[in-house]
């Protein structure tokens, strides 16, 4: 799997997850730059669920105290923060 397809695969999974949490979107129809917090597509309770899903995708725990502001703003941002940048979340 090359880098691009890995990125695409993870973003697709995130898109499907977001769609599952909210009515109005199909699995492949959530734009990666959609402001999911600002537009209240995802609530604070669902963020907790999202953290668990991200842990599942990453295969290691995430410490919410170390998450930067804006990390959940869009699917692009989530990918960047949790799968690209070298943060010590665990």
């Amino acid at each position: 799997m090359n880098v691009l397809s890995k990125e695409q695969a993870i973003k697709n999974k995130l898109s499907a997850w977001v769609a599952e949490q909210s009515s109005g979107y199909h699995a492949d129809s959530v734009p990666f730059d959609l402001r999911i917090i600002e537009q209240r597509i995802i609530t604070s309770v669902q963020i907790m669920e999202l953290i668990l899903f991200l842990e599942h995708l990453r295969g290691e725990p995430i410490n919410p105290l170390q998450i930067k502001p804006g990390a959940f703003s869009t699917i692009d941002a989530i990918y960047q923060h949790f799968f690209v940048e070298d943060h010590a979340y665990a």
């Binding site: 917090i37 609530t43 604070s44 309770v45 963020i47 907790m48 669920e49 953290i51 668990l52 899903f53 842990e55 599942h56 725990p61 995430i62 410490n63 919410p64 105290l65 998450i67």
Partner: protein, 286 residues
């Protein structure tokens, strides 16, 4: 606030009378026996699921140990937030008698955390991180005060059910029972205070807040209740207990009908308070 002041005075006297020193009261074994129960099976987050029913007894006990570590961990996180909120409200807007009780409240919560932290670090070498994440919602002061104490009541009502149940459960290791009993002894006072001030703040301010704010408060509390319950279902507990597909186990546990019934049952006393006091319009489904 007169009735809160009266109750604060009464509770302060009770706290002085029952002042305790957990550093002297507890014996911590060097190692724990692996064939003990550390968490009541009926309260397990997997109880009632097909996964749990086929587990050999020794793996149910292993799971029970990690469920206790998770329970103590979520207590630590809840009490950390509690200490911050209580300290912030010392000598602020309310009569001195309330601050005097808040000192006891703070001191007792700190002692609980010491017990939970000692157990987790000594025997599990970790405290599970909380998954709670705040989106920085800002409220006016009266709403903030009300929500703080409402959160205290919700959090403590749930943990107290577990404390009381496990303190009485003769199958459990004596250390586990003793910590749960110790916590319950103080929580009954904290809950009495929490319920009284929550109700008082709501009655004093709800008329000024307006319908939109009250509806927003109800949504917030519904979300907080869900989030509080989610902490009882931790995929990393299942991993530590030896489950391979621990995320799937988590989803199974959270969604299982028997677990929904368990949550509803444990929540019923808490929900009854919020509905009868008019804070919530109806009991949430958890």
């Amino acid at each position: 606030m007169d009735n809160v002041v009266t109750l604060s005075q009464k509770l302060s006297k009770a706290s002085v009378k029952r002042y305790s020193n957990p550093y002297l009261e507890f014996d911590w074994p060097e190692v724990l026996s692996e064939d003990s129960w550390w968490f009541s099976p009926e309260l397990s987050s997997l109880c009632g699921t097909a996964v749990y029913d086929v587990l050999p007894a020794e793996q149910q006990q292993r799971l029970a140990f990690w469920e206790l570590v998770n329970f103590f961990s979520l207590n630590i996180h809840g009490e950390k937030a509690l200490l911050q909120g209580l300290a912030k409200r010392l000598y602020s807007r309310w009569p001195t008698e309330i601050s005097e009780y808040l000192h006891h409240f703070l001191g007792e919560e700190n002692k609980h955390m010491t017990l939970f932290g000692t157990f987790c670090m000594r025997y599990a070498n970790k405290v599970y991180p909380s998954k709670a994440y705040s989106l920085n919602e800002n409220h006016i002061q009266s709403v903030e005060d009300f929500l703080f104490f409402a959160r205290v009541v919700i959090f403590e009502e749930f943990v107290d059910y577990y404390n009381l149940y496990m303190a009485k459960d003769e199958r459990l290791h004596p250390l586990c029972r003793a910590i749960n009993q110790y916590h319950h002894n103080d929580e009954s006072r904290h809950l009495a205070f929490g319920r009284k001030i929550t109700q008082q703040l709501f009655e004093s301010h709800a008329g000024d807040w307006g319908e939109d704010t009250v509806n927003g408060i109800r949504r917030y509390l519904g979300d907080y209740i869900q989030a509080t319950w989610k902490e009882y279902y931790n995929p990393w507990v299942y991993k530590d207990a030896g489950f391979n597909d621990f995320y799937k186990t988590y989803l199974t546990a959270w969604r299982h009908e028997s677990q929904k019934q368990l949550r509803q049952k444990i929540s019923s006393h808490c929900f009854s308070f919020f509905v009868t006091s008019g804070i919530l319009a109806e009991e949430p489904v958890v």
